[in-house]
Symmetry: C3
Subunit: 347 residues, 3 copies
C-alpha cells in the first residue's frame, strides 16, 4: 500500500515540507521507523528523535522550529497526534476492508443471502439460510453454520467457527480460531456414576461492536441465548459458559473463564486468567484483578482480588503480612518465652 506525501498531507489537512512524490508504505513510531515509513512527533521532549529518525516523513506541530538539519520530509499540522491517529484509522480501514469478492473454492449454500462488497475467502463454508450484511468479510477456512445472521461491516477472521443459529451484530471483529455457539457443558449425573448430556438448544447473540479474541470460546445457551451486549471486548482464549450475559462495554483480558448463567453488568473491567463461578451477579463497573477467583456477587464499582476474591486493598494488606509469616511466628514464640519467664518470676 503506497501513498505519496501529497496524498497524506491532503488527507490530514497538513502542510507538506518536502517532495510531494515521496512515497510511504507503512506507519511507525519515531524511534523504530525505517525508510518508507511515516511517523509523528507530538511531545516536544522527544524533539531530539526527529534529527536521528530514519522515517521518510514525520507529522509535526505547525509551530515547531527545528534547529538542526533533518532527513525526513515534514507534514505540519495543528495537532500532530490527532492527525496521526486519523491516519492510523484510514490505514486500518484500508487494510481491514481491502479484501473483496468470493474466492474459489468456497461453499455458499444456495438459500443464503449477502449484501454488497462482501469477501468470502477460499474454503470458507456458509451453511443454509445464512444472512450476511454489507461489507462483511469472511476469511478463508471460516465456518458459518445454518441460520446464522451477521451484520454489516463485521470481520470474521480465518478459521472462526460459528455454530448454527448464532446472531452476530454489525461492526464486530472475530479473531482467528474463535468458536461461537459450541454446546454448553451441561450433564445430568446418572446412578451408575456416568453422565448424560443435556441437549443445548439455545444460541449465542453478539450485539454490535463486539470484539472476540483468537481461540476464545462462547457456548450456546441451554434454551434462549448466551448474550454478549454492545461494545463488549473479549481478549484471546477466554471461556464464556452457557446462558451467561455480559453487559455493555465490559472488557475481559485473556484466558479468563466465565462459568454458566453468570450475569455481568456493564462497564466492568476483568483482568487476565480470572475465574467467575456459575450463577453469580457481577455489578456494574466491578474491577476484578488478574487471576482472581470470584465466588460471590459483587457491588457496583468494587475492586476485588484473590482466590476466593475479596476487597483488593484487604487482599494486599493481608498479603504483606503473609510474606513475613515466618517472622511473625518467631515474634509469637518470643512472646511465649517472655511470658514464661514472667510466670516463673511471679510464682
Amino acid at each position: 500500500m503506497n501513498f505519496t506525501l501529497e496524498q497524506i498531507a491532503h488527507l490530514i489537512g497538513g502542510k507538506l515540507d518536502g517532495s510531494k512524490d515521496t512515497k510511504v508504505n507503512t506507519i511507525s513510531s519515531i524511534e523504530d521507523a525505517e525508510k518508507g515509513s511515516i511517523s509523528f512527533l507530538s511531545n516536544p521532549k522527544y524533539e531530539p528523535l526527529i534529527y536521528t529518525t530514519r522515517a521518510s516523513a514525520v507529522i509535526i506541530n505547525e509551530k515547531l522550529v527545528l534547529n538542526k538539519k533533518i532527513n525526513a520530509a515534514l507534514i505540519r499540522t495543528a495537532n500532530p497526534y490527532a492527525a496521526f491517529t486519523s491516519l492510523l484509522e484510514v490505514y486500518d480501514q484500508l487494510l481491514s476492508f481491502n479484501k473483496n469478492g468470493i474466492e474459489e473454492p468456497s461453499f455458499i449454500h444456495k438459500t443464503s443471502t449477502y449484501g454488497s462488497d462482501i469477501y468470502v475467502g477460499a474454503f470458507a463454508y456458509i451453511g443454509s439460510n445464512v444472512k450476511l450484511g454489507n461489507q462483511v468479510k469472511i476469511y478463508p477456512n471460516a465456518y458459518i453454520g445454518d441460520d446464522v445472521t451477521i451484520g454489516d461491516r463485521t470481520i470474521i477472521h480465518p478459521g472462526v467457527k460459528i455454530y448454527a443459529k448464532s446472531v452476530i451484530g454489525s461492526h464486530c471483529t472475530l479473531q482467528a480460531g474463535a468458536v461461537i455457539g459450541s454446546d454448553g457443558f451441561g450433564y445430568a449425573p446418572l446412578d451408575d456414576g456416568s453422565y448424560k448430556k443435556i441437549p443445548q438448544l439455545g444460541n449465542v447473540i453478539l450485539e454490535n461492536h463486539v470484539d472476540v479474541g483468537a481461540n476464545t470460546v462462547i457456548d450456546c445457551a441451554t434454551f434462549n441465548a448466551t448474550l454478549i451486549k454492545k461494545g463488549v471486548k473479549l481478549d484471546n482464549l477466554i471461556q464464556v459458559g452457557h446462558n451467561t450475559l455480559i453487559g455493555e462495554n465490559t472488557v475481559i483480558a485473556a484466558q479468563s473463564g466465565i462459568a454458566g448463567s453468570v450475569k455481568i453488568a456493564e462497564n466492568c473491567k476483568i483482568g487476565g486468567q480470572v475465574g467467575i463461578a456459575g450463577h453469580l451477579k457481577i455489578a456494574a463497573k466491578t474491577q476484578i484483578q488478574a487471576q482472581s477467583g470470584v465466588s460471590k456477587n459483587t457491588k457496583s464499582g468494587q475492586i476485588i482480588y484473590g482466590t476466593p476474591a475479596i476487597d483488593f486493598n484487604n487482599y494486599l494488606r493481608s498479603y504483606t503480612i503473609y510474606k513475613k509469616l515466618p517472622a511473625v511466628m518467631k515474634q509469637i514464640e518470643k512472646i511465649e518465652e517472655k511470658l514464661l519467664n514472667l510466670q516463673r518470676k511471679t510464682q
Copy 2:
C-alpha cells in the same frame, strides 16, 4: 424443524387438549417461550406462568386443574418433566444427526472407509487408511489424519484437528477447534542452553462416550497412548499433557491443565482453571476446587483447594484468618505492649 402437536402427543404418550395441526418448531422454558415453541410445567408453584406464557403448547400434569383461560394448547401426561426430557432428547438427536451425505469439495483418501449414514462437510479432510463407523458426522473444515479410526455415532464439529493414528470411540462428541494428538511438550536440554525436541511417537485414545470441549487440546504420548477412558467429559480450552490417563466418568471444567504422565482415576470432579503437576496420581472420586494447583497425590474422595492444594476445609479456615491478618498483627502488638508493661511492673 416442524412438528404438529399430534405428532408430539403421540411421541410422549400424552393427551392433546388443543388443535392437532398446530405446529411448533422449537423448545423453550415457560418464562421465555415465544409463539411456535413448546414448553412444560412440572412444579405446581410455577402454575401462574401458564396463564401468561406465549408458548404455543405446554406439557402439563394430567391431573392439573386450571382455573383461568389460557392461550396455549396443552398436552397432558403423568410426568411432564420426564416427557419434556424425552422430547429434548429426540429433538437433539434429530438436530445432531440431521446432516447426511458428502458435501463437495471434501477430501477423502481412497484408502479410507466409512459406514452408513455418514456426513462429511465441505473442506473436511480425511487422510489415508481412516476408518469411520456408521452415522459418523464430520463437519466442515475438520481434519482427520492418516490411520485414524472413529466409532459409530461420533460427531466431529467444524475445525476439529485429529492427528494421525488417533483412536476415537463411538458416541463421542468433539466440539469445534478441539485438537487431538498434537506433539507432547518434551525437550532434552543441551549444554549450550538450547533444547532438542524428543520425538513424540505415541497416539491418543478416546474410549466411548467421551466429550471434548471447544479448543481443548490433548497431546499424544511419547510412546503408547494418552488415554481418555469411557464417559469422560472435558469442557472447553483444557490442556491434557502427553502420556496422561483420565479415568472413567471423570469430568473436568474449562481451562484446566493436566501436565504429562498424570494418572487420574475414575469419577473425579475437577473444577475450572485447575492445574495438576506432572506424574501425579489423583485417586478415585477426588474433588478439586476451581483454580487449585495440585502438587501431590490425592486420597480417594478427598476435596482439595488452593495453590498448592490442601484439604478444602483447611484452606477455607486458613483463608478466613488470612483475610484479617492485619487485625491479627495489631492483636500481637497489643500483647507485646501489655507484656512490656507487666515486665516493668514486676522488675
Copy 3:
C-alpha cells in the same frame, strides 16, 4: 513404515543377533512393547524386562551377557541409549517430512513462491506474495496470510492461522490450531464508556527453531514486531500479548499468559498457567513456578512463586504457616489468657 533389522543395525552401527529380514514398524518402551516394535535396554537394573518383553527387537549393550533364553532379536552396540535416540530422530524425520507435493484443492496465490520438496495439504490457503522455503510442510486447512515468509524445514500443522506479514523462521514447528499475528488487545476508552479499537499494524516474527503449541495465540505488535527469539519453545494454549519479546531458549508451559510489551530475557523457565503483567522485564534464567502471577520485574536466576509472585522459598515457608493459621490463632488466644491471669496476679 517398515524396516528390516538389517537396515536398523546398519543405521545405528550395531551388530545384529537375529534374523536380518525380521521387520519392525514402530518404536516402544521395553515394558509396553508389542510384536513389531523395537526397543532398547540401557540401565542394567531393568535387565529382567528383556526376558518378558514382547518387542520383536531390542538394542542392548554389546557387553551384556544374557542368562536366560529370550524371544526378541538383539542389536548390540556400545551405547544403546544413544543408538536408540538416533533411531528415534531418524524415525521422526521420516514421519515429519514424509508428506510431499501439493494436494488438491488447495489455494496458492500466483504471486507466491516456494522451494523444493514442499507439502501443501488440501484446503490449505496461501495468500499473495508468500515465500515458502525448502521442505516446508503445510498441513490441510492451514491459513497463510499475504506477505508471510516461512523458512526451510518448518512444519505448519493442520488448522494453523498465520496473519498477513508474519515472518516464520526455519526449523520451526507450529502445532494445530495455533494463531500467529491476531490483533493485539488495544482499545482507547471514550467518554461514553465505550472503547475504540487501536489499529494493530505490526507483525509477529518467529526466529529459527521456535516451537509453538496447539491453540497457542501470539498477537501482532501495534507497530513493529512481537518477537519470539531463536530456540523458544511454547506449549499449548498460551497467550502472548502485543509488542512482547521472548528471549532465546526460553521455555513456557501450557496455558500461561504473557501480557503486552513484556520483555522476557533468554533461558527462562516458566511453568504452566503463569500470568505476567504488561510492560514487565523478566531477567535471564528466571524460573517462575506454575500458576504464579508476576507483577514486578525479576532478577537474573530468581525463582518465584505465588500471586503476586515472591521468592519461591519465602512463599513456601509462609504457606507452611498459612496452612496452620487456625492453630496459630488458638496459640495467640492462649497467650492472651495467660497474660490476663498474670495481670490479675500482679494487681
